[in-house]
């Protein structure tokens, strides 16, 4: 079991709402690892659309993604792409 953590800045101009949020949750659910997303005020389940929306991460927000499990490394790599994509 491995825990992987990564600090990231949300680059998407829509923030982590809308399409990026749905995409984030869909991708997170592909992995067996437990996935948590933290901002300075909240900590939510990365596999939950309600959680990610609750986070309300705008463009420029600093978040930490934490994955815990066999496939943690892969999960972090793929999720990082979504968070840091500017599209």
């Amino acid at each position: 079991m491995a825990t992987v953590q990564k600090k990231l800045i949300v680059k998407n101009k829509q923030g982590l709402h809308a399409r990026p949020a749905a995409l984030f949750v869909q991708v997170a659910n592909k992995y067996d690892s437990r996935i948590i997303v933290k901002s300075n005020k909240e900590e939510v389940n990365g596999k939950s659309i309600m959680g990610i929306l609750m986070l309300g991460a705008e463009q420029g927000t600093e978040i930490i993604i934490e994955a815990d499990g066999e496939d943690a490394q892969g999960a972090i790599l793929e999720l990082e792409k979504i968070v840091t994509s500017e599209e």
Partner: protein, 576 residues
């Protein structure tokens, strides 16, 4: 008589008595439970979730069949909320802690989320709150064993008046006695507005404070063209609107009357009018609206919302079904067109800065032959069950087309060696949606049996406009002289090489452009099923000799606006 102005969400005019729909309020009793009841409460919760899921999936299937895939996808967001782990876990953990009935806990949790989301200023989130409310009410109804009152009992045509309507409410109006609807809130692009358009009834939304002024039974005029609602009109107003309503109904009826007649011009030229689909379930709607085949079957949807790509057998079953249902009419299957705005999570596709110029569609398929070949095998195997054709998306030059055909031949050889039957003469076409392809149609003719113009991308690439970018979206003009010239060039080059040209982009379903496109020599129009009756009606009112002149005139104009005005005036002249 009182007049209200709102947002015109769906066109048309209807006159009828108001039917006020109250908000659906639930009284959820705060009921205490003991430790021993917890497993049963969890079971009730799970059963309600399963039942709700089944309801939504059934609704999606029905909508996909009767309206279309775009409308059905609205409910994808509902499923995402329904399956939300955080929500489910929170309900169960609070249930164990607080010892209150699951219905009460669920409604509290739901309330909490909605409160938090309501505080965030975001257009997208506002829509999501509507979705969460909609699906939340469904779950609550199932937890309490209640039924939502539908519209089945209505004995006469009414105008539904409500503060707000959920997509589920709107979907329930389908084929019931509802002739229009009016709401206090909502916008032009809301899910409810999209549903109204496919219901083909007028709708005016965002009419602030209107429900407070209307009583059930009040006579209403709903003008979905201008976004006007008139309560208890005077005689003169009523007479004017009744005439207008009759006139519009007459036109709509004329469209429907001729929907099953062939699309032949007044001077005897036969034109193909076919449908665009995304799911096999849409076949029913294709037949209902009088299409002569399927000009574009988008196969991406087989690959979406799932973990692994679909198997060969699964694809074969889908293609076989569509081929058999439409036979003897042709069905054009477009091979996987992912990338750009269609992202699939099964494949490792790096995030790109310019996805529309990146690794997508045929480029992806040529690189991932393993994925491509599975699809080609499925299409070839299904080709013995009807008249299937293959079409490659986003071809940018002859080399790509050759490569794709080479792979197709390899797959054919493989099937032959295993004695698996297929139509060896299956026709192969290329989408013309990249300017470089549009300029080399003569060369592409060596490797293709037909072409189909994908106008959405062709316009986007030719005019260098990202339609999703609101700052430049105004530059996206189907009537731009460059677009017309390019289409002319495609058709002329193809015809010089004895090849027919279809169009399957949005432009093909635009009524005012039909005379121009026909005049340019387009052989086939492919569009969403709903638009087919009107298109056929227009084609049946035209003469090829006359539209040739219209196209020539249009080509001589200098701006997109001029072309649009001209096209508008001409269509009015022709069909009145």
């Amino acid at each position: 008589m009182i007049k209200f102005k709102g947002i015109a969400a769906a066109s048309g005019i209807s006159i009828g008595p108001a039917y006020k729909m109250g908000k659906e309020e639930f009284t959820v009793p705060k009921q205490e439970i003991g430790d021993a009841d917890i497993p049963l409460q969890i079971q009730i919760f799970e059963e309600a979730l399963i039942k709700t899921r089944r309801e939504i999936i059934d609704l999606q299937k029905r909508i996909a069949t009767e309206m279309g895939q775009e409308e059905a996808q609205i409910f994808d967001a509902h499923l995402l909320v329904l399956e939300d782990r955080m929500l489910i876990e929170e309900v169960i953990s609070r249930l164990k802690k607080e010892h209150l009935s699951v219905a009460f806990i669920f409604s509290e949790v739901l309330k909490k989320y909605i409160e938090v989301f309501s505080k965030i200023e975001d257009e997208y989130l506002k829509e999501r709150i509507a979705d969460i409310n909609d699906v939340g009410k469904r779950i609550l109804r199932n937890l309490l064993g209640k039924e939502r009152k539908g519209f089945e009992d209505l004995k006469e045509k009414v105008v539904v008046v409500a503060h707000d309507l959920s997509p589920s409410d709107t979907a329930a109006m389908h084929k019931q006695n509802v002739c229009a609807f009016v709401t206090d809130i909502g916008g032009k692009t809301s899910h409810t507005a999209i549903m109204a358009k496919s219901l083909e009834i007028p709708a005016v939304v965002g009419v602030e404070g209107v429900t407070a002024r209307i009583k059930t039974g009040d006579l209403l005029i709903v003008d979905g063209v201008t976004g006007t609602v008139i309560i208890e009109p005077d005689e003169e107003t009523l007479r004017i609107y009744q005439e207008e309503e009759t006139k519009l109904k007459g036109i709509a009826e004329k469209f429907l009357e001729s929907k099953d007649l062939p699309a032949v011009t007044l001077d005897g030229h036969s034109i193909e009018v076919s449908a665009n689909i995304e799911l096999p379930e849409e076949v029913a709607s294709v037949k209902l609206h009088g299409a002569q085949g399927i000009g574009l079957y988008r196969t991406e949807f087989l690959y979406m919302n799932r973990k692994d790509p679909p198997t060969e057998e699964e694809q074969y079953q889908a293609y076989k079904y569509v081929a058999e249902e439409l036979a003897p009419h042709p069905v054009v299957i477009r091979t996987l067109d992912l990338g750009g705005d269609k992202f699939l999570s099964q494949f490792e596709i790096p995030t790109e800065i310019e996805p529309f110029l990146g690794w997508r569609a045929i480029r992806f398929c040529l690189a991932r032959q393993d994925v491509f070949k599975v699809q080609l095998r499925a299409v070839l195997r299904a080709s013995v069950h009807g008249k299937l054709k293959l079409m490659y998306p986003m071809i940018s030059g002859l080399e790509e087309l050759k490569q794709a055909n080479l792979i197709l031949n390899e797959v054919k050889e493989e099937l032959r060696s295993k004695n698996i039957p297929f139509n060896s003469d299956i026709e192969v076409g290329a989408m013309i949606e990249v300017p470089s392809a549009a300029m080399t149609v003569d060369l592409l003719s060596r490797e293709a049996h037909f072409f189909s113009i994908g106008t959405n991308d062709l316009i986007q690439y030719s005019l260098a406009v990202d339609r999703a970018n609101e700052k430049v979206a105004y530059l996206y003009e189907p009537t731009h002289p460059a677009v017309l010239r390019m289409i002319k060039n495609i058709i002329d080059s193809a015809h010089a090489n004895g090849i027919k040209v279809a169009m399957c982009g949005e432009m093909a379903g635009e009524p005012i452009l039909i005379p121009i496109l026909l005049g340019l020599g387009l052989d086939e129009f492919s569009m969403p099923p709903l638009l087919i009756p009107e298109t056929k009606y227009i084609i049946r009112s035209l003469k090829v000799s006359q539209v040739k002149d219209i196209a020539l005139q249009a080509l001589g104009l200098a701006t997109g606006k001029e072309v649009e005005d001209y096209a508008q005036a001409k269509l009015k002249e022709i069909i009145g």
